[in-house]
């Protein structure tokens, strides 16, 4: 039986909170109870009780949801799966299991130590697998091995049928293949409670990785040099970065606000065979930035999206660039826990290099100051993308439609005080609106990276409620094709009462009744 955490319980206050301290938005939005579920049977029973009582269930694995989808649930109940962490269950056979409540750092440790395999998932240790994988799940090995959902063979999910009964089901390519596809990328909180993912096979991680980077001083930065940095970076991923021998290279260009003093890029590299014997690719990549005059005294910066934040731990490599060699497991699980703060995020998939105007716009907003608002902790992180992700044959098998992009942008801001909310949120909205109101965005879609020649929309795991202002928001996240109507059909079939919903969940098709 699930542990019921009600208002009298000393754990209640803590467990009503999100990692994003903006939520719950107000005392009126707080849930009535939290149900801590250790296994699928407990999920079935707890979900049934919640539904029978007419309350709304929301689902939490790691608690990292960027928006208010989980903890803003007035009078409702959170089904908290953070203690649902089994590594193997009867009936799994030889398949690997990742339970929904397991955090990514523990997943990496567990899979590596037990089996010598891994998933190409995210960098933050404490992100829960349940939500992360349901939205796609990508990270430093994704250019090499694709998305985590690309490897999923089956999903265990508890759904509410037409008769209102909670039923646990295992879905795969043969059993309920439509729901299986929907669980591979559509995002959390849509169709039911995912309790676990099963994998027939998983990739082997590299033994070692190379870490490194370069940084730039905002005090000496000029607009032209900033443009050069962005275009040099983007040019690589649109050309050389498509070659298979570079797929082991993953980089984040972390464009921090000028208040932070510096910005830079960090990288992780291995050869496609998982070794680090040949560093030609990484040296060639860093060579391209020599003309941009990176700071020699600070080869890398630290920050929320910096790869291997403990860098320069590890063994220095010989050569002109400051690179270190580390065990992959150490590089993957150390120092990436993240801490709670107030936060806001946006995202963009890019199919093409930055234009000079885009670079100018980003430069302008990173230099912009707001009286009384400290904009340190505000940034645009430009992740390398593509490679093994862009296997278009997976389009009909998964619910990830972005298979043509070479960069993925994450707009982020982290702060402590609620008094700064307006300034922080406004800064990011202004940047985004400005950046995507240009000649590469068709006028009807101004203000958004609408899918087209230049952009490929947004990432559902980086949800942004500001996009709800646009009636075409589903197309930003799921494309213009058959995917969103397909997901609506899945919603109708497997959650006919729309028990599972949040502000950006797949919406039932409207019927005239």
């Amino acid at each position: 039986m699930a542990a019921l955490i009600s208002k009298q319980d000393p754990r209640y206050n803590t467990l009503t909170k999100s990692r994003n301290l903006r939520f719950p938005s107000s005392p009126n939005d707080v849930v009535d109870s939290i149900e801590l579920c250790e296994n699928s049977d407990e999920v079935v029973a707890a979900l049934q009780q919640v539904v029978d009582a007419g309350r709304r269930p929301t689902i939490r694995s790691g608690g990292h949801c960027y928006e208010d989808f989980v903890v803003n649930n007035p009078g409702g109940s959170i089904l908290d799966l953070s203690v649902l962490t089994s590594s193997h269950l009867p009936g799994d056979g030889n398949r690997y299991r990742i339970s929904a409540g397991k955090v990514l750092g523990d997943v990496y440790l567990d899979l590596f130590k037990r089996y010598g395999v891994t998933i190409p998932a995210g960098t933050c240790y404490s992100v829960g697998a349940g939500g992360h994988i349901s939205g796609g799940g990508y990270g430093l090995l994704s250019r090499l091995h694709g998305l985590t959902v690309d490897w999923v063979s089956a999903v265990d999910i508890v759904a509410i049928g037409a008769d209102g009964k909670a039923v646990a089901r295992r879905v795969d390519k043969k059993q309920d293949p439509d729901l299986f596809r929907a669980c591979r990328g559509a995002g959390g909180g849509n169709f039911g409670v995912i309790t676990g993912y099963l994998f027939d096979s998983l990739p082997k991680p590299p033994q070692e990785v190379i870490s490194g980077g370069i940084s730039f001083d905002w005090r000496t930065m000029t607009e032209q040099r900033f443009i050069d940095v962005l275009l040099t970076y983007g040019e690589y991923w649109t050309t050389r970065g498509k070659d298979k021998d570079t797929w082991g290279l993953f980089s984040v260009l972390n464009l921090q606000h000028s208040d932070a003093g510096r910005f830079g890029l960090s990288l992780q590299f291995c050869n496609p065979d998982g070794t680090c014997r040949d560093l030609k690719v990484v040296n060639e990549f860093l060579d391209r930035f020599e003309s941009c005059n990176p700071s020699p005294e600070h080869s890398v910066i630290r920050g929320d999206r910096t790869i291997a934040q403990q860098w320069p731990a590890g063994t220095p490599c010989s050569g002109q660039h400051a690179l270190t060699r580390r065990l992959w497991l150490d590089a993957t699980v150390e120092g990436s826990g993240g801490s709670s703060s107030r936060a806001k995020y946006k995202s963009t998939y890019m199919k093409a290099n930055f234009t000079a105007n885009e670079a100018k716009c980003i430069y302008k907003h990173l230099k912009r100051t707001i009286p009384g608002i400290d904009l340190r902790g505000s940034m645009v992180a430009v992740d390398s993308y593509g490679g093994g992700v862009n296997r278009t044959e997976l389009l009909p098998e998964t619910s990830i439609c972005q298979r043509s992009s070479v960069m993925k942008l994450q707009f982020m801001s982290f702060w402590k005080n609620s008094q700064d909310d307006q300034g922080r949120l406004g800064w990011m909205r202004d940047l985004y609106q400005d950046l995507y109101t240009s000649d590469v965005v068709p006028p009807p879609y101004a203000g958004t990276p609408y899918p087209g020649e230049h952009y490929e929309g947004c990432y559902i795991n980086y949800p942004d409620k500001d996009m709800l202002a646009y009636p075409f928001w589903p197309q930003l996240y799921y494309g213009e094709g058959e995917l969103y109507p397909f997901l609506q059909d899945v919603k109708q079939r497997y959650d006919p009462h729309n028990v599972f919903h949040h502000a950006m969940s797949v919406r039932p098709k409207q019927r005239q009744v």
Partner: protein
């Protein structure tokens, strides 16, 4: 059966149809003319009837006000907006208006969103103690409770009660569709028809909190819809969406049972 004049509404479906109305006879010095409020597809219109003639005196923009109801003190009017999306969210909304005592003209006080998934709300009822509204949400299959302050301002949703159910009439009854709500005169009970699940529900009301205490199943496929209760609170009349039949029920406030 005598229907309280403020509870009687006509529901006509269609893009431009008049979908809700309520009339307000003036009292005292304003006895001679009467005022009528009519919801259309995109407005609430105010009509005055004088010397046998009816004329429109005001029209306020309002999105699909499918149900409007008047405060018993005639100070406020409430409307529910039967829409699928409000402020980008999948929900409907409710509005409150102040009634100008002499002219009967309306002035908007507040408009607030319903809960997530409270799409296409159909009808609302104002509690006899004038403290809260209950909204029957047809599309999302649920009820919302919202507080109303003494100045007529509607507060945020305080209770969401999701219904699960279905019946035999194809996609029109593939899930619960609360249609109408009406308070028992005591304010201790609320009745709700569910067009999708072929049910009439009795809710006990405790300090603005709804708890279902009894359900009556109607003829399968009938779709109970319109609802009215007599002034004694003992008799309930129900119209049906998919049947011309009207049904009457007796209510025992002692047991909370409907027969």
């Amino acid at each position: 059966m005598r229907f309280p004049y403020l509870s009687r509404r006509a529901f006509l479906r269609g893009a431009t149809a008049i979908c809700a109305s309520a009339s307000l006879p003036m009292t005292g010095k304003e006895l001679s003319p009467s005022v009528e409020y009519v919801g259309t597809a995109d407005s609430i219109d105010v009509y005055r009837r004088e010397a046998g003639h009816k004329r429109k005196v005001q029209s306020l923009a309002s999105q699909h006000p499918s149900s409007i109801t008047l405060d018993v003190t005639r100070k406020y009017l409430f409307a529910v907006n039967e829409i699928a999306e409000f402020q980008g969210l999948p929900t409907g909304s409710v509005e409150s208006y102040e009634i100008e005592p002499i002219s009967g003209h309306l002035g908007l006080i507040s408009r607030v969103p319903l809960s997530l998934s409270a799409t296409m709300p159909r009808q609302l009822a104002f509690s006899p103690d004038r403290r809260f509204l209950v909204v029957a949400v047809h599309g999302g299959g649920l009820y919302n409770v919202l507080p109303v302050s003494a100045n007529g301002e509607i507060g945020g949703v305080t209770q969401i009660l999701k219904e699960i159910g279905y019946s035999i009439n194809g996609h029109r009854q593939s899930s619960a569709h609360p249609h109408s709500v009406a308070f028992h005169p005591s304010g201790k009970f609320l009745f709700g028809t569910d067009e999708g699940a072929d049910r009439i529900n009795v809710f006990r009301i405790d300090d603005g909190y709804m708890t279902c205490v009894h359900r009556v199943c109607t003829v399968p496929g009938s779709g109970p819809a319109g609802l009215a209760i007599d002034s004694s609170g003992s008799r309930l009349c129900v119209e049906h969406a998919f049947s011309t039949a009207k049904a009457q029920y007796l209510f025992d406030p002692g047991s909370g049972l409907l027969t």
